[in-house]
Symmetry: none
Subunit: 233 residues, 4 copies
DNA sequence: GATGAATGAGTTTTCATTCAT
DNA sequence: GATGAATGAAAACTCATTCAT
């Protein structure tokens, strides 16, 4: 508690606070520019000068806020992973049935990726360029994201709603993979499918694959949802 | 980027034939060295000199047979894609039932990826570094591989064995994605699953998701195969 | 490069006087911080930001009082040269005999260097980084310092106490050089000699080398002073 | 012994030998250019591109033979130290009397420095820019050179020719320092002295300071050599 | 007067590519 | 055909200096 605690708002104050806010703003500026460029051309093909130009700042400014080019990449990757961590749980909140919750989470996951599919790609493609410990952090966050869905799977399994012969953690990974797939194979899938169709299709396939026959009818509504014509491509 | 960038030669005679054979041999030498290095360190972290040293030739020799560094990458990527094109059909040959054929293809796909999961990763990670037309060629080959499985799905659908609302090409892509997943998430999956367990699990999940209830019993043998305990991780 | 780059001010009054005193204080602050850093890491390895941080001021403040980084260096160098100019004459005052006066000056010279041997080194090492005219000023001050001793030598020569075949100015330079040597070769000499032993040894050697045989006995007391064992290293 | 030992000259042969010779030649080229530039402008003011331009090669070539800019400096410094190690002993060979030998060594030392006084300066000024172990190597070489003279002093002392209270290693250091002085104070000394006069003066001063009175006459020839007028500057 | 964020020229270093041998 | 020394454009990063607050 500082002497002028009575004057302070909810957070801190003074130069340190100003600096913190500015740093946040600058980093956002830099990450936004970097995201776009890296998504488009790849990490190695994007120079720090390019990022600076795109962000409308000087190289010097970038290095004032981020110690190395690698840290730019790390921020870009963490940025999208943070989206998952924020918005996926948000979409699942208040849904009782674990399978429905799982599908709601999957839906949210896919939507985020649809909005920022090139960012999602960056996370896949360029993680290799990170140093050991940064890579470790990214992996941790990825596992954390998978666990958002894994907990639903486990809840459903505990409720006896799932087939017994597939690991819950693998099922969760499958869902995550299929969400990422929208980014990874976007160039191919988007030719014939909208994101809505994609999510629906996967959201019909997966429950059939994992829910026990005797529980399936409970989800019939989901599985027969607003059917699109299955175009035989 | 040459049109015939592959490792395959034709069977003429005379000096031209000699040249062709030599070229094939050299390219193999170079690709073998490059694969290993790129898988381990990434494309941009691997220099042409490194490749030359590893291959036991001079840089000059590399440039005699490949016009640019990018072409080395293209060859490495095509190398693994060729594996798919060769060995997946091989595994499916002679199997009548389309679903069984599909699963045999999936199994083969996963085995190849298990053997060379870092090569498979390279195809994902580094494709971005290819020029437009080379990338196009890679995509073509990828589609070709997917189509190997898609034809089975279509056959099964035509035979009325599948649920009505699926899109065969998407299902094929799902299978391909789940095969690739063994490479992409190997760092995580391999902690709790062997390749056998992985393939079996996915080969149980997917048919349940797509085969019509009344046809399912036909595949019971497959679906209940040598069951591993589903460890709740 | 200002003409009056030194730390000394004049004694006016009013706002100008205030400014002058402040300038003096600020410069002292800056030079103190810079000295320490430059001595330790060298001029080029020391950034203006480092100096600012060490001095507890902002870079802006430094540039308010000194027009360039080079001027910081100039001040640091002048600082030690000013020490010589102040304290060497102080040590010689009141000593009649020119040879004794010379040795007293040499002794003082060595003591200053012993106290601040890294500053003394800076003057040697980093002078090159000064612009022409600043370098000129430093050389001037160095000559001035040498002249402090040269006048004694000349007095002794005029009194006929010295051998005739060596230039007095060279003798003075030799003394200065041997004083500086304690800084330049400190890493080596300090292993086997204390500053006291060093000064005594040189103060025995030099007179024997320059005083005429028939005058030598006058200085026997000096030459046989509190002898330390001559360790054959 | 290789199979073709009969064909080989005195050294090795083949590509390795060619490379070795080329490397030596290139390094000489680079060091020559770097010496000149560093002597003139200082190490930090000299860019690798400057060196390349001066040497008439590309930057790439420099880095093919030297792993970093620092190594260029190290080579420049070692180059002059090697001169001392070669030519000083050469000058002393065959001289019986230890004092005469010492003076011959000192003379050679001074001549080398006179020829390359700016190189000698570089060794002083820029050593600080070397990394720990490189600096260690330089110090070692410096000590080695000093020891060349120290052994003469010790021989003279053992023969009873010197005053009792001297430390041979310090005397040797004094000689070395006075040789270096010709480089360090060249800007000042060269105004009034030629190198010949300088060496003679010091070679008169020092023996008087260390040789016992009863042995001095033996060196009268040296001490009264081709006397120059001692100009009172 | 004091601050320190912003600037961008300049530095070291790498590496794909060429070409004389 | 094979070699590998030479090239130089381009990249990441630093830091003296400025100027709006």
């Amino acid at each position: 508690m500082t002497a002028d605690a009575g004057l302070s708002g909810s957070q801190e104050e003074g130069p340190a606070a100003i600096r913190a806010v500015r740093a946040k703003w600058r980093k956002r500026q830099i990450v936004a520019a970097a995201s776009e460029l890296i998504e488009q051309h790849g990490f190695h093909e994007t120079s720090v000068n390019d990022v600076a130009a795109k962000a409308g700042v000087s190289v010097g400014t970038i290095y004032q806020y981020l110690p190395s080019k690698e840290d730019i990449l790390l921020l870009v990757i963490i940025d999208i992973l943070d989206q998952y961590r924020e918005r996926v749980p948000e979409a699942m909140v208040g849904i009782e049935d674990p399978v429905e919750r799982l599908l709601a989470g999957f839906d949210a996951y896919c939507r985020i990726i649809n909005e920022r599919h090139s960012s999602a790609l960056v996370a896949y493609r360029e993680s290799k360029s990170l140093a050991k410990d940064a890579l470790g952090k990214v992996m941790e966050l990825e596992i954390e994201t998978t666990d958002l869905l894994a907990s639903c799977v486990r809840a459903a399994a505990d409720a006896g709603a799932l087939v017994a012969d597939i690991q819950p953690s693998l099922i969760a990974s499958d869902f995550v993979m299929l969400a990422h797939m929208w980014a990874l194979k976007h160039w191919h899938l988007a030719e014939t499918l909208s994101i809505d169709e994609y999510v629906e299709s996967q959201a019909r396939l997966m429950p059939r694959g994992i829910v026990r026959g005797d529980s399936l009818e409970r989800y019939e509504r989901l599985l027969d949802g607003p059917q699109h014509e299955a175009q035989a491509k």
